[in-house]
């Protein structure tokens, strides 16, 4: 296929503005899927995606589009190609649906590198939101042609004129030619296709040049090994040839080459501008680096493509098997997870309390929740997850050595610490002007530094704060949503580490220090957090045959205390009417619950308690 008739584009937007729904429409219109195969947000095929109604992973799909014969002469005039056929030709459109949530922003950036254009969707009522801004900037930075699309024009109440203004003032894009669409009702879809072929430039690239293909994603399949997602920049990738990963330096056979339609469909070759996949028989994803360049063996002329900035893990937590014998099984499962998700990392760690487990790194809280949920659904391993924390830096006394701390256990004695530093994020809020006061208060309470306010229109504003990451990742988003009745949105970027008066808060259960419950907090908040935490633990730990003291301490100083009284009676009455099965099941359930507990000294602590560290913070 001649690159002239290929278009590569991403759909980007704030979360829930309708990217996946628009992708559905484009697939449906071109017959890539039939009405019968259709289900909403078709590309969201992970269980977690379907359950939560959000996109987590970027998804590529190639569709064939033939313009309307009557409109073709008019369109052809605008086409940026040499020969303009008299009959409408078939265009190959490579679409990448991207996630909207801030945790998965890196998925957006790498999708953009495989495209020449982007459809920027904006909800006709909600208008420009924090992620709209972040994603639009990313597209501009990648040098893409951006087509603004106002979606959901079918909504009973819309603010189309104001939204167009916002696109111009906030993002700085010309909104005159913005498209008016309802992805749900299929309004304006033909215009979307026409804008794609006339406004987004075709890819460049010589099919005869040495192969250069960008690896923009990879996926692990149990049966076929690693499936590498590629965008051909130059040259041709042919089935059966020897190919080389430039960074990895490894050489493989291209066993199968194909395109996503949306299922994998093999073909003989992929030419410049095309997006598809290659299967090399590689069994280990470590050999396939996202951002790497694929070339042909022997053709040394090719220069590697720029690649990507590695996503930075910002949230860490420990994951331990409830049953120690499951350690290897958990390792396999984590490996499998990381094969499909390069932004997730894990390394073995041991804890006095929890035994052998793993410290896992995530991009954010949603990312963490999703991995945890997938582990629970897809693997049959009982898990204890410790409370999440951000990474810290500690400069040591005397030696001046800088430690990177992603586990509170590793915090040295306070005497050895010269400086304790925490990550700071620049947070961009977009919210109704009437809510500015309340959000500023929230930021001030969380040790924020005010930076700027900008009015975006008569009643919307952008507020910028610098905040410790630890203060925003857990629940800032929820707090913002409830304070603004859902109208406020936020986005953040890490800008660096800054010193702060931080301490390690220890938790003792019946005299035994439970490292897995320890956390790093600002000294001013330590007492309050400690009190909340022991109170919360009191609710989570069930009564034992003896009294249990719960204490929160900084060093040796106890700052909060609660007591769980001893269990005095636990006997239920009769097995009525001989229904012994019911009674047995009831008691068996009690025992089953214990399986999810861990023994600390004489005390059994349920798995849930380890997350209460996090929830305690929410009960202010």
């Amino acid at each position: 296929m001649s690159p002239e008739f290929i278009r590569n584009f991403s759909i980007v937007a704030h979360i829930d503005h309708g990217k996946s729904t628009l992708a559905d429409q484009l697939l449906l219109r071109t017959g890539a899927i039939t009405e019968r195969e259709f289900k909403e947000q078709l590309l969201d095929d992970l269980d977690v995606e379907r359950e939560r109604g959000i996109t987590v992973k970027a998804r590529a799909v190639a569709i064939d589009y033939i313009p309307d014969a009557e409109r073709w002469p008019g369109l052809a005039a605008h086409l940026k190609c040499a020969a303009k056929p008299g009959k409408p030709p078939t265009f190959e459109l490579n679409l990448i649906d991207t996630p909207g949530h801030v945790d998965f922003h890196y998925e957006v950036s790498r999708s953009l590198a495989a495209c020449e254009g982007a459809l920027l969707l904006v909800d006709a009522f909600q208008g420009v939101q924090a992620q709209t801004v972040a994603n639009a900037y990313a597209a501009v930075e990648a040098g893409l042609e951006i087509v603004p699309v106002i979606n959901k024009i079918d909504l009973p109440v819309t603010r189309i004129d104001e939204v167009l203004d916002e696109i111009e003032t906030v993002i700085g894009l010309d909104a005159t030619d913005a498209l008016m669409v309802s992805a749900k009702q299929g309004i304006g879809i033909e215009e979307v296709f026409e804008a794609i072929i006339t406004r987004i430039p075709p890819p460049q690239g010589d099919p005869k040049a040495p192969l250069r293909a960008l690896v923009f994603d990879s996926k692990y399949d149990t049966f076929r090994g690693v499936i590498t997602y590629v965008r051909i920049m130059e040259g041709t990738l042919k089935k059966g040839e020897k190919i080389r990963f430039m960074k990895g330096g490894t050489v493989h056979d291209a066993l199968e080459v194909g395109r996503f339609r949306p299922g994998m469909e093999p073909c003989n070759s992929l030419g410049p501008g095309q997006t598809g996949y290659v299967i090399t028989g590689v069994k280990e994803v470590v050999h396939v680096h996202v951002g790497d360049t694929l070339t042909m063996q022997g053709e040394q002329a090719a220069v590697a493509l720029p690649g990507y900035k590695q996503p930075q893990q910002m949230v860490f937590c420990g994951m331990y098997p409830t049953d120690a014998t499951d350690f290897e099984k958990l390792r396999e499962e984590l490996e499998r997870m990381s094969l499909n998700d390069a932004s997730f990392s894990f390394s073995p760690e041991t804890s006095d309390a929890l035994g052998f487990g793993f410290r896992c790194g995530f991009l954010g809280m949603l990312h963490m929740e999703i991995i945890q949920q997938r582990l629970e659904h897809e693997a049959d391993v009982g898990l204890i997850q410790t409370a999440p924390n951000v990474t810290y830096e500690i400069k040591k006394q005397r030696t001046g050595e800088v430690l990177h701390i992603d586990n509170p256990v590793d915090v040295p004695e306070s005497g050895d610490i010269e400086e304790f530093r925490e990550p700071i994020a620049r947070v961009n809020f977009i919210l109704p002007s009437s809510n500015i006061g309340i959000i500023m208060q929230l930021c001030e309470d969380r040790r924020g530094t005010y930076k700027a306010t900008e009015y975006l229109g008569p009643d919307r504003a952008q507020l910028i704060y610098e905040l410790p990451l630890a203060e925003i990742i857990y629940d800032m988003h929820d707090k913002l949503k409830s304070a603004t009745r859902g109208y406020g949105t936020m986005d953040y970027d890490i800008i660096g580490f800054r010193p702060a008066d931080l301490v390690k808060l220890d938790i003792m259960v019946k005299g035994v220090k439970v490292e897995a419950l320890a956390m790093i907090v600002h000294r001013d908040f330590a007492e309050r957090r400690g009190r909340q935490l022991v109170k919360r633990l009191k609710k989570e730990i069930s009564k034992h045959q003896f009294e249990i003291a719960l204490q929160a301490a900084i060093g040796t100083r106890v700052i909060a205390r609660e007591t769980i009284s001893a269990l005095r009676k636990n006997v239920t009455a009769k097995c009525y009417g001989g229904d012994i099965t019911r009674k047995r099941k009831l008691l068996a359930k009690q025992k089953e619950g214990k399986k999810r507990m861990k023994q600390f000294g004489q005390v059994e602590i349920p798995q849930k308690a380890f997350l209460s560290v996090l929830e305690a913070g929410n009960e202010e």
Binding site: K569, N570, V571, T572, G578, I580, R584, K591, K594
Partner: protein
């Protein structure tokens, strides 16, 4: 010893009618629908027809609901149905659960005529305020009246059920109830701690804060009072909730606890036949519809593995005062008792929740307070 695979010598019949559903009750029953009694008897007849031959049984138990809620004529038909299905052994025990207010002389006459040998009264409490909270329709005096009348008709195997831990109930009030029960001159007393079951109005009221459960410490003291006072008055404990004078232990319930087999009929009824535990649909109307349509009334059934049978036997055995005969247990189940949960076994012995002696393992007095904690470890 009892063999679960042997053909049953016990039968349970569930009679799912009551005047009113008490706030704490989650038994399978339908209140205020006496119009269904005719249908019920028809369906029961069909279900009983599945029994082959006319086997002989040693114990027959009519539970509910309230069997005595049936009008005398219907009650008579019920007894007749069962007589047609089963032959009773010469010394058979035939028990009926009853509500004090239902037992007018006419009904008592029906019971006597039908060969009922034992009556279990839902007395629940002897203090008017607790009876009110429990939504019972009788008053304390009715209990004495009915036990006396039963005695006069020659029904001298009488049991009363008592509930402790009723919201608002004090320890002295409970002790008074125990005393009152003892002085009735009955032969058997059961004491049950009130439990809050999902789906009952008590459960909802407790959740909304409208009902305050008694303190755990008070509840414990109440149970302790029963364990102290009743033996002193001549009622020997033979199971966690059951106390009886000599010879008056409920034989039917012991069939359950010994892991023997039994038939069961009616909505929600649970049986154990041929090593399979099965339970009928709990909804009275579903049960009716299915049986009348000629479809099986069974909602769930489970064939126990050898190990499950052993574990279940621990649950039942530990609830009994004699405990578990260790060598007999191993012989019968193929599992040495301790092996089923070695760590827990040793810990419970060391903590004094279980005790060994005379070839038996049983709960200690302290262990009885925490019976569920102990038993759960063996399941």
């Amino acid at each position: 010893m009892t063999d679960p695979f042997a053909s049953p010598r016990a039968a349970y019949v569930h009679v799912p009618f009551c005047r009113h559903r008490c706030g704490y009750c989650d038994f399978p029953l339908i209140a205020g629908r006496d119009d269904l009694i005719g249908e019920y008897l028809k369906a029961l007849e069909l279900e009983l027809a599945t029994v082959e031959g006319r086997p002989e049984i040693d114990t027959l138990f009519y539970g509910g609901g309230t069997p005595t809620h049936l009008p005398p004529v219907k009650l008579r038909s019920l007894f007749a149905l069962l007589r047609r299905t089963f032959a009773l052994a010469a010394d058979a025990e035939v028990s009926v659960e009853a509500n004090p207010l239902d037992l007018d002389d006419q009904r008592i006459a029906v019971l006597v005529e039908a060969g009922v040998t034992r009556v279990s009264l839902g007395a629940q409490s002897f203090d008017a305020s607790s009876l009110k909270v429990l939504e019972r329709d009788h008053c304390p005096e009715d209990i004495a009246d009915v036990t006396a009348r039963l005695g006069r008709q020659g029904l001298c195997n009488r049991s009363v059920d008592l509930i402790f831990g009723v919201p608002g109930q004090s320890l002295p009030q409970w002790v008074q109830s125990l005393d009152a029960a003892v002085s009735l001159g009955v032969e058997h007393i059961s004491t049950y701690g009130l439990t809050y079951e999902k789906g009952t109005s008590f459960w909802k009221r407790r959740d909304r804060g409208g009902l305050n459960p008694v303190e755990e410490e008070t509840e414990r003291a109440m149970y302790a009072a029963a364990m102290d006072l009743l033996p002193a008055a001549g009622f020997e404990p033979y199971e966690l909730s059951n106390f009886a004078r000599d010879q008056f232990r409920c034989r039917h319930n012991q069939v359950y606890w010994q892991g023997a087999s039994y038939f069961a009929f009616g909505p929600g009824a649970a049986r154990y036949v041929g090593g399979i535990r099965s339970t009928n649909h709990r909804s009275v109307t579903t049960w009716l519809k299915r049986v009348l349509a000629g479809v099986s009334a069974i909602a769930e059934s489970e064939e126990l593995t050898r190990e499950q049978r052993a574990r279940e036997l621990v649950m039942l055995g530990l609830r009994q005062t004699v405990g578990i005969d260790v060598s007999e247990f191993a012989e019968r189940t193929g599992f040495p008792l301790r092996e089923l949960a070695p760590a827990a076994f040793d810990r419970f012995i060391a903590d004094g929740l279980m005790e060994e002696g005379g070839g038996h393992v049983r709960l200690s007095r302290e262990g009885r307070f925490l019976a569920d904690t102990v038993i759960a470890e063996f399941l």
